[in-house]
């Protein structure tokens, strides 16, 4: 990963799209870069942080990240903000108006759409923002193009004084491909902020004259798109179908139909309609292949051209060769034999929490307490909705848990009468957008029990830092927010702020029981680090003494991946009732010695064996 940081021009590298963006930003002379972690965009800032002469930070949320980049741009610096698709929703308030005001230093927003939802709560097409906010969109198809287009984006941004969106997808961000580096860093003059209230103070009186300027910019950008070498025809002899592609769909189309002509749109908004019209005249049938909304298709049809798109292709998900082939064959009236894709009858492997995960304790508690509505949030703890906890009832957007829980408290229905409302949120999500919900709940005299699961990391994206971890993007010491003091400052009574070790299951259960009975808001804060970060200390593995295990199955209810069922036995009691006993075993390679399961074991059958100097055996039976 680090090698490319020092690489010279004209060298060849295997880079992910995200790594390519980072190198391009450095070469383009970017001075400020900001982001909030989010799959599949996280590695952009992680890689930018490796380069010299760029100030880079984890911002607390995407809106803040964009505003940081805007400030730098107004000072004349080139600036970049990166985020996943849902981050754009958060950031939009800032860029929608900045687009009207324009920019000074090149301002590029790199957004990564999770097409196919590999790690997201929805599937969004960020190309809408270009239409909505009057910003041009560049769409790379692979790592080389991510590298090329990010550099072009800065030039375009400065030439037209507009923010530019570089739209990536998971299949560009995370694919590793060859990149040939073109140059090294070019330092640029940074003039400094030039005061100009009419331009930068967006009161109605100042904003109104900017509207015709922005619309004129749209026209200029359309001309630029028409003339751009990023919108180029890739020739093909089979003219029955001409494809129009944006982003990675070019690769899928070229792979599947190597002989078809393709108009490849790298500068996809504003769409070069004249170029498209000329291309359409050279082919029998026009097919737009775009992920995921029919944006170009609609615009092309509105321009009076006959075109296929989502009329024949799936409305959502990736348009991989396996998806394109049958649809296009059907359009051509050709037979297609579908290859079986995978063994659908095999068991699934749903994502699971890790051994020693500090979220296991709270979910053990929540799954053992009745009459709760548990309002969740975005993070690893969303997995609490799954087996075996089944202890999370909602998840929609970052920070929503506290405000939704407050709303559910105020809007209680008949079945909620005797229930307590619980909000579950992690440290980073709380700081991203959750704390406003707490402030609102206190201000409006709500009653919600908040579980603030502080694992000192942004867990789901790979353990990034945040203001609660005590370190910054570069791993350097940083001021660490005190969650208890913060909750108190927002108005929670100190008596109702409870710190707890999530590994101490009896205490955990007792605290949640107590606080959910209170007639006022509580905040329960857990204090163990994510077990995948360096802050976690791995201890010796535990083992189950088989002759001591009574088969109660309590430890299995914890949901720890190190614990599994060794065997089942059905026993008949004197009363004639039958009962299934579940005997447990612990995988010594997976167990990290957290002792949570020990707390569930009445007969003390879970013990830590004396250390032995031998290789730990993997369970291998063919």
């Amino acid at each position: 990963m680090n090698a490319v940081v020092h690489a010279k021009a004209e060298s060849r590298h295997l880079l992910s799209g995200n790594e390519a963006v980072a190198r391009a930003a450095w070469e383009a002379g970017v001075r400020v870069a900001a982001a909030y972690p989010g799959t599949p965009a996280t590695e952009i800032l992680e890689n930018i942080a490796l380069y010299p002469n760029i100030y880079s930070e984890w911002s607390v949320n995407e809106k803040v990240a964009v505003e940081v980049a805007i400030g730098a741009s107004l000072a004349g610096s080139r600036a970049l903000a990166a985020m996943k698709h849902v981050g754009m929703n958060v950031a939009s308030d800032a860029f929608m108006t900045q687009s009207l005001a324009g920019v000074v230093g090149g301002l590029v927003i790199v957004v990564a759409d999770d097409v196919g939802l590999s790690s997201s709560q929805n599937e969004q097409d960020s190309r809408y923002w270009g239409r909505f906010g009057h910003m041009p969109i560049l769409e790379p198809a692979d790592s080389q193009e991510a590298y090329d287009l990010v550099k072009r984006a800065f030039d375009l941004s400065e030439a037209h004084e507009t923010p530019v969106i570089v739209r990536m997808t998971t299949r560009v961000c995370h694919v590793k491909a060859m990149v040939v580096l073109e140059s090294e860093r070019l330092e640029r003059p940074t003039p400094g902020f030039q005061k100009n209230p009419q331009r930068w103070v967006m009161t109605p009186a100042n904003a109104k004259p900017r509207l015709p300027i922005m619309h004129e910019r749209d026209r200029a950008l359309r001309d630029a798109s028409e003339a751009s070498d990023l919108n180029v025809v890739s020739a093909g002899g089979d003219r029955r179908i001409g494809f129009i592609t944006s982003g990675p769909t070019f690769m899928h189309v070229r792979e599947t139909f190597p002989d078809a002509p393709v108009l490849k749109l790298g500068f996809s908004h504003p769409a070069p309609l004249d170029k498209i019209r000329a291309f359409a005249s050279q082919v029998d049938t026009l097919v737009v292949v775009e992920e995921t909304e029919p944006l170009l298709e609609t615009e092309i049809r509105a321009a009076g051209l006959e075109v296929h798109g989502k009329t024949i292709l799936p409305r959502f998900g990736e348009l991989a060769p396996s998806v394109l082939r049958p649809a296009i064959k059907a359009l051509l009236g050709e037979a297609h034999e579908a290859a079986s894709r995978s063994r659908a009858d095999l068991f699934p492997r749903p994502p699971t929490m890790c051994a020693s995960c500090p979220h296991l304790g709270p979910y053990f508690a929540l799954s053992h307490i009745r009459n709760l509505n548990i309002i969740g949030d975005i993070g690893c703890y969303t997995l609490g909705a799954g087996h075996p906890w089944n202890a999370l009832d909602t998840c929609i957007s970052m920070g929503a848990s506290l405000s939704m829980a407050h709303g559910m408290d105020k809007g209680r229905g008949d079945s909620d009468e005797k229930k307590s409302i619980v909000a579950v949120i992690g440290d980073s999500t709380f700081l991203h957008m959750g704390m406003q919900g707490l402030l609102n709940m206190i201000y409006n005299r709500g009653n919600v029990t908040v579980l603030l699961l502080d694992n000192r990391s942004v867990g789901m994206t790979g353990g990034q830092e945040n203001p609660g971890t005590g370190q910054d993007l570069h791993g350097l010491p940083a001021p660490r927010v005190d969650f208890a003091k913060l909750a108190e400052a927002l108005g929670v009574r100190p008596e109702r702020i409870r710190m707890v070790d999530p590994y101490e299951l009896p205490t955990m259960v007792k605290l949640v029981r107590e606080e959910t009975k209170m007639e006022e808001p509580s905040v329960i804060i857990t204090n163990r680090p994510c077990s995948l970060t360096d802050r976690f200390e791995r201890l010796r593995a535990y083992t189950v003494l088989d002759d001591q295990c009574t088969g109660c199955g309590n430890c299995i209810d914890l949901g720890c991946p190190a614990i599994s069922v060794a065997r089942r036995e059905t026993v008949t009691a004197k009363s004639g009732k039958t009962k299934e006993l579940v005997f447990a075993q612990i995988d010594p390679n997976t167990c990290t010695g957290c002792h949570m399961c020990v707390e569930t074991c009445a007969p003390d059958a879970i013990v830590q064996p004396e250390p032995q100097n031998r290789v730990i055996r993997i369970h291998a039976h063919a």
Binding site: R12, L14, T39, S118, S119, D142, R171, H174, V175, K176, A177, M178, F250, M251, H252, R254, E255, T256, A320, P321, S322, A339, S340, R341, S342, R343, L346, F347, P348, R349, P350, P351, T352, C354, H387, P388, M460, G462, L532, I556, G559, P561, S564, V565, R568, N589, V615, I616, R617, I618, H619, A620, H621, A622
Partner: protein
């Protein structure tokens, strides 16, 4: 191999080193002058979920994804995962499979069943499948994390470049970043290469 493109699918479970093995193949292919693309289909699980890594290389590679029925080689780090992805292999392809079985919590809980004999099911397809216990070899060498180097060794005689080139790339990588592990990885590669010569299970069945 069609159009000079080699398609390799590496499958297993998060945390097993699947992505590292795929990266090693991709880097070696680049060093041999090929155009390369590598992509993962990994869910949000950092641990415990299915991971499938696609490596494609040749004169010019467009799509990073290997279509169903288009893989030339399948490296399975776990028996049931090899079975899950076998339909991605061409009928003329080769699968190299670690016989390790890892049952997820949903199986342990009795919600789903783990196949009784995944290797037997692989054999029944008639495709060339080589299966061996990579975990046992790793254990003999004293480090269970060696499984991915062992699997790379096992597949190395089926690649369009010499096995020695892949081995040298792996060992040099360790020499640069974790020099203490260079020698044992060289041994693991050789042991895996030897193990990969095991008779194909499918042939045994039909013989």
């Amino acid at each position: 191999m069609r159009d000079g493109i080699t398609n390799i699918l590496v499958v297993g479970i998060g945390g097993q080193g699947v992505m590292t093995a795929a990266e090693m193949l991709a880097r070696t292919a680049i060093s041999q002058g090929y155009d390369v693309k590598k992509t993962e289909v990994a869910g949000m699980a950092q641990r415990g979920g299915v991971v499938s890594s696609h490596v494609r290389f040749g004169p010019k590679v467009y799509s990073p994804q290997i279509d169903a029925g288009e893989a030339d080689l399948l490296i399975g780090f776990e028996a049931a995962e090899a079975l899950r992805w076998l339909p991605h292999l061409r009928p003329t392809g080769v699968a190299m499979v670690n016989t390790l079985r890892i049952a997820p919590p949903v199986v342990s809980a009795g919600l789903y069943a783990y196949p009784a004999d995944p290797i037997g099911e692989l054999a029944a397809t008639g495709i060339e499948v080589h299966a061996f216990d990579a975990g046992a070899i790793a254990e003999e060498l004293g480090n269970t994390k060696l499984v991915n180097t062992i699997m790379l060794g096992a597949i190395s005689d089926h690649l369009p470049f010499p096995a020695e080139v892949l081995k040298a790339n792996i060992v040099e990588g360790f020499r640069a970043y974790k020099p203490k592990l260079a020698e044992v990885n060289a041994q693991a590669f050789d042991a895996g290469r030897e193990a990969g010569h095991v008779k194909a299970v499918s042939r045994q069945l039909t013989a």
